[in-house]
């Protein structure tokens, strides 16, 4: 399976003494967009922290491009080509807008994304390039967070709850921009609580419930009922 970019095999993850993930397995093909949905506390954030190396695991639990990466540090994982737009944006408050973007690109992977192409995607950021990142609106901050992740020219991009805390109109703008971003050959994982958005933007969907995969299927094929069951554990 040379086309699989990320493969998660029986991942057990712990937060201190608390086990958050139980034998989670997933597969993401090159160029594919995966949605991971689930209620609060289902283990989505733990999954993201494990994939990005903020939580370390056994090496063979996560393979990237065929190589085991489960035990790498976050900065080593960034270097192999995985980037994340973190939940709550988490920009660096001491850095200006442009510095936030530049620091995203400091691992110097080559690819289509640069300061100028990010500014092309989000022109408003160019106008505010020298402002403190904290002075922007929530939607603009989310653009910076997306731009910062793109600057790394990743092969796999993770979006963690990008609609959380934003006005619906802003969410729409950002989701409208997503196909253009992902269309450049990247693979992506979209973690969402908003099931409709997640299904609409993805090729396949995984649902997590209490730390386990409760549903897996093509986004077009899975029924609303099946998702509700997998999401809430009813029935």
């Amino acid at each position: 399976m040379p086309d699989t970019i990320l493969e998660i095999n029986g991942l057990d993850s712990f937060y201190g003494d608390f086990q958050a993930l139980y034998g989670v397995s997933m597969r993401i093909e090159k160029g594919e967009v995966i949605a991971v949905i689930g209620a609060n506390g289902a283990g989505k954030t733990t999954l993201m922290r494990s994939v990005t190396g903020l939580l370390q695991n056994k090496p063979e639990m996560i393979h990237y491009g065929g190589k085991p990466i489960g035990n790498l540090r976050a900065d080593q994982i960034a270097a192999v080509g995985i980037a994340m737009v973190p939940e709550g944006r988490q920009l660096f408050p001491s850095l200006s807008v442009e510095e936030n973007l530049v620091i995203g690109g400091q691992i110097k992977r080559t690819g289509p994304w640069s300061l100028s192409s990010v500014y092309e995607l989000f022109p408003v950021l160019k106008e505010r390039r020298n402002q403190a990142s904290t002075s922007l609106s929530g939607g603009q901050q989310q653009m910076v967070a997306i731009g910062r992740a793109l600057m790394a020219n990743p092969d796999l991009l993770l979006f963690d709850e990008i609609s959380l805390g934003l006005a619906p109109i802003i969410i729409k703008t950002i989701y409208d921009a997503l196909p253009g971003i992902i269309g450049s050959g990247m693979s992506a994982v979209v973690v969402e609580q908003d099931i409709v958005k997640a299904v609409a933007v993805s090729d396949r969907v995984y649902c997590l419930q209490e730390g386990r995969v409760s549903l897996e299927g093509r986004s077009g094929d899975v029924s609303r009922d099946a998702i509700s069951k997998a999401y809430f554990g009813i029935g």
């Binding site: 990005t52 190396g53 903020l54 540090r73 976050a74 900065d75 080593q76 960034a78 270097a79 980037a83 994340m84 973190p86 988490q90 660096f92 408050p93 001491s94 850095l95 510095e99 530049v102 620091i103 995203g104 400091q106 691992i107 910062r148 790394a152």
Partner: protein, 288 residues
């Protein structure tokens, strides 16, 4: 005229104190670490300067070229091997580990160099002076040191706010996890910050050794001067630290002018007064 002279000398001395303080301030800003061994590292740099000077027979001011990178390496190694393991939510481990380090450095120096006071001679420049109108007399060497101190603090300011290193320092200080996601290895970033701080410490140590005599137990005193300059100037503000150092230097010299026994006491009292009336220092960083 004695008073004006005391104040001018105090300002020049303040540059040295600002150098003591700058590394302390940088380290605290990047990783919230207060290094109790900071003063002992300054004295270690002075002794390294002494060894380099006597071995190679060069002027101590040129010894900086060798001592500064050496101290930088020591700083990087110290951070990676020891200090990174102490960082976390609990303030006890870094405090007690650097305290232990302070004892180790002091007694190591005692073992190697003995307790005798040492001084480095910078040659003819030590006695050269500028005669200013009004009978004011400014030593060329203290002036040179002051200018260097200002330049060092300006460079640190530039590195911190304008360079890629500074960007990494600030990002890691803001949010370690997210900085890691950007491909920054925080252990390495902290190592670089400590290396940079110890390069400044090296310059401070050589200047200390040229200006006054020093012995292995001189470290804690230097730590305290640096610390006082940081608090007087306001946490997180490098230029404030320079002013803090200058205020400290002036107070010490005025105290000494009144009574030689009051030199250090006057500096400490100035610090305590500032702490009482402006606990955040004179120029705290606004975005603190």
């Amino acid at each position: 005229m004695d008073w004006v002279n005391a104040i001018v000398q105090g300002i020049l001395l303040g540059g040295l104190y600002a150098l003591f303080a700058a590394g302390l301030s940088l380290i605290f800003g990047v990783m919230r670490l207060v290094n109790i061994a900071h003063g002992d590292l300054i004295v270690l740099a002075a002794f390294l300067g002494l060894t380099v000077t006597t071995t190679l027979g060069i002027n101590p001011l040129f010894a900086i070229v060798i001592v500064a990178p050496l101290m930088g390496l020591i700083g990087y190694g110290l951070q990676r091997v020891v200090l990174n393991r102490t960082l976390g939510d609990d303030i006890l481990p870094p405090l007690l580990v650097t305290f232990g380090l302070s004892v180790i450095i002091q007694n190591g120096l005692l073992e190697i160099y003995s307790a005798d006071p040492q001084k480095m001679s910078a040659g003819a420049i030590e006695t050269a002076s500028l005669n200013l109108p009004g009978g004011l007399n400014i030593g060329v060497l203290p002036l040179l040191m002051f200018i260097t101190a200002v330049a060092v603090i300006g460079s640190l300011q530039w590195i911190f706010y304008r360079s890629a290193w500074g960007r990494a320092f600030r990002a890691t200080s803001d949010n370690q996890d997210i900085a890691q996601l950007m491909g920054l290895n925080k252990s390495h970033v902290f190592g670089l910050a400590m290396a940079l701080a110890l390069v400044v410490v090296a310059i401070a140590g050589i200047f200390l050794g040229v200006r006054t005599s020093f012995d292995p137990s001189a470290g804690p005193g230097r730590l305290i001067f640096g610390f006082e300059a940081v608090i007087i100037g306001g946490l997180g503000n490098l230029w404030g630290t320079l002013i803090g150092g200058i205020i400290l230097g002036i107070c010490q010299n005025i105290g000494a002018q009144i009574n030689p026994g009051w030199q250090l006491l006057a500096g400490h009292l100035a610090f305590l007064v500032i702490l009482a009336v402006r606990p955040r220092g004179l120029f705290p960083r606004i975005d603190g």
